[in-house]
Symmetry: C2
Amino acid sequence: MNARIRDADLVIEGGMVITMAQGQAPISNGRVLIKDGIITDIHSRNEKCEGPGVQAEVIDAKDAIVMPGLINAHTHAAMTLFRGLADDLPLKQWLFEKIFPAEAKYLNPDTVYWGSLLGCLEMIASGTTCIADGYFFQDETVRAVHESGLRGLIAQGIIDFPAPGVPDPTKNLMVAKEFIERWLGFSTLITPGLFCHSPVTCSEQTLKGAWEISRRFDLPLQIHLSETSDEINEIIKRTGKRPVFYLDRLGLIDKGLIAAHAIHLDEMEISRVFKKGMKIVHVPESNMKLCAGIAPIRDMVNAGLTVGLGTDGCSSNNNLDLFCEMDTAAKLSKIYDLDPVGLNANTVVKMATSLGASVLGLEKEIGTLEIGKRADIIVVDTHQPHLCPVYDPLSAIVYSANGADVKDVIVNGKVLMKNRGFTTLDPVEIIEKVKVISSNISI
Amino acid sequence: MNARIRDADLVIEGGMVITMAQGQAPISNGRVLIKDGIITDIHSRNEKCEGPGVQAEVIDAKDAIVMPGLINAHTHAAMTLFRGLADDLPLKQWLFEKIFPAEAKYLNPDTVYWGSLLGCLEMIASGTTCIADGYFFQDETVRAVHESGLRGLIAQGIIDFPAPGVPDPTKNLMVAKEFIERWLGFSTLITPGLFCHSPVTCSEQTLKGAWEISRRFDLPLQIHLSETSDEINEIIKRTGKRPVFYLDRLGLIDKGLIAAHAIHLDEMEISRVFKKGMKIVHVPESNMKLCAGIAPIRDMVNAGLTVGLGTDGCSSNNNLDLFCEMDTAAKLSKIYDLDPVGLNANTVVKMATSLGASVLGLEKEIGTLEIGKRADIIVVDTHQPHLCPVYDPLSAIVYSANGADVKDVIVNGKVLMKNRGFTTLDPVEIIEKVKVISSNISI
């Protein structure tokens, strides 16, 4: 028996394996071997017929697609608490009259913990294996993500207003720095980080301070960038420059910056972003729902930018399903660019996997299925009416599937969901707890 | 015991009942009584505590939303056969180089039957209870829809080219008329009808002939209208008029005409459509995917037009999930109209239920849950991570749910799906059969 098969502690047997590695065709009737959280081999069972070692746990992927776990490169997991609390409203009213007051009134360590757990539960259930999260009371989000078994870049929110858990904004950088020091090295799966709310809500001093801390620890800095045209006007009024050039003056336009939304970028800004290597996260459903605008993602991808995909908080979406987000990203580009080819199925799956990994600086560890990489893998059950037939597995993933089609979820070689049963989290407890919390919320 | 409770043969117990009847608030902890396919009572269990009669079948709707079944007002069920066969292509290339040749080569009574069965299976699985279908070999679609238990307006396709099953286009009206005569009165659930492919692909004579037949039998006529700007230009070139005015000259702009797509209508056309009562079906995902354009649905709804919702054939979507379609309809209007309020959750649920019923001329029978109406009802399981919490059930339906959340489906008082188990169709047989058919398809 092949040594790698004998030594594996987890084996995914059968199915169509989409590795998302550059230039690699789908492998039908595949086998993926995993040992100690690492992918040790990927092959067609037609070539190597031996079964797995008797010690290995086996995931049956017959009639299924095996692919890299999805990467939600911009979310606020705890905002599940406010899912559907304030819909069909303009962004400003939604944010200032509903969400900020709800956050001020209802967020505390306990609610953030349970809201984050619910977010993790939903993301596991819909095939996400890695998240970039930015919010407040992030010790609790770290705790929730750690318990869930997900991989994550968990960032402490920074804003120059009194914020949940940070009533004195002059202390926001200190709180954030202490958050990093507290969690750095805590787990190989969790990277702490900073999240500046936006160039409008953070002063120049705050932005520079946050960047300086991020650089000191060599960690990415997350930010909301150019989400609304009002924001562009405000930054131009304050600084005489468009946001990318303003942030570039401060030194932030860099491969260490992860900018979510990035809707209202002109050609000069896209060119500057490319030159400096800044990362972008497309959140099309939130952008549509809040009337924020349509990001020129096809042009960004064509210009060579590194663009990932995110759901945003599910209070502006209103779910954390990256399958829906891929579908929307592809269709929205087609109708916006009037180009059916530009952002095709392959490109949006890359945005949700390999490009997402690059956005988070984790491209050497995750994002594709390759020998030596971490085993962050999902299995999508295609034996279902809406996934039959499958002429092209990438097309099926983007245009036909949704998160409920995910059968198994593996992070770092650990099975977090098997046949839709959760192994790390108790869905009944979490849902019931959030129901109780939400029954007291009104705004 | 209340006589209606005692006499019911089917009872839906518990859950939040959204009737979609004008002005009626959701009923929490509801009970819906059904006898002989008719809704006989809807009340809160808090008011009437007696349980159901011992003879009644009971659907448990605890932790669920009970609502009218969704109406897919424009689809081509058998096109499941071509799901994902040709993606990321412009409409013309998709249609003329891929779909028309695939239809010519692979459609026959057997493939249309199995493709339609798969479409019905998928639609039941995602909460659709009534469809408006237009295609070829429609005897087979009638047979499939009849076996599935769905309600449907099933229309024979008419086009002035050699078509599947109608090699001689001079006979297309005769074939269609015979189709109607064959199926009229066959079942209370199935209404036969005609479907003219478009004003471009059907001559003036064909359009008038189809309209005349439809009027003779008092049946709606379905048509694709103003899907691309090329089509508008072609019609103007041929007739000197925009499509709505051209069809109006022929007498077709009338409450008996159901026009799908209706993207490129100007204000004058919208005003004429309103005056004449023509019905419109919005198919946003197909329109986006094929780069056809964005229909001004908010303006149409505001102008008082009757607008339903459809998936189109799933080869341009690529699924038949009306929950996804509602989400896309709402978000697309927000970003297109830059108006977060215009097409809100309530309006799009109406488009998929009560307005859809009006489009099909079935508003007295279905579309809302009211005493005396036919029991076309779905139960949506909200005890799931992505549907917690529920501050507003309509928002949860539109922005958070997808078709896989539908637990039970009832049409005309008959349970077609219970706890996700199908009662009329065999999913394994259908999926395996379509896999075999599709393994021979390439284009």
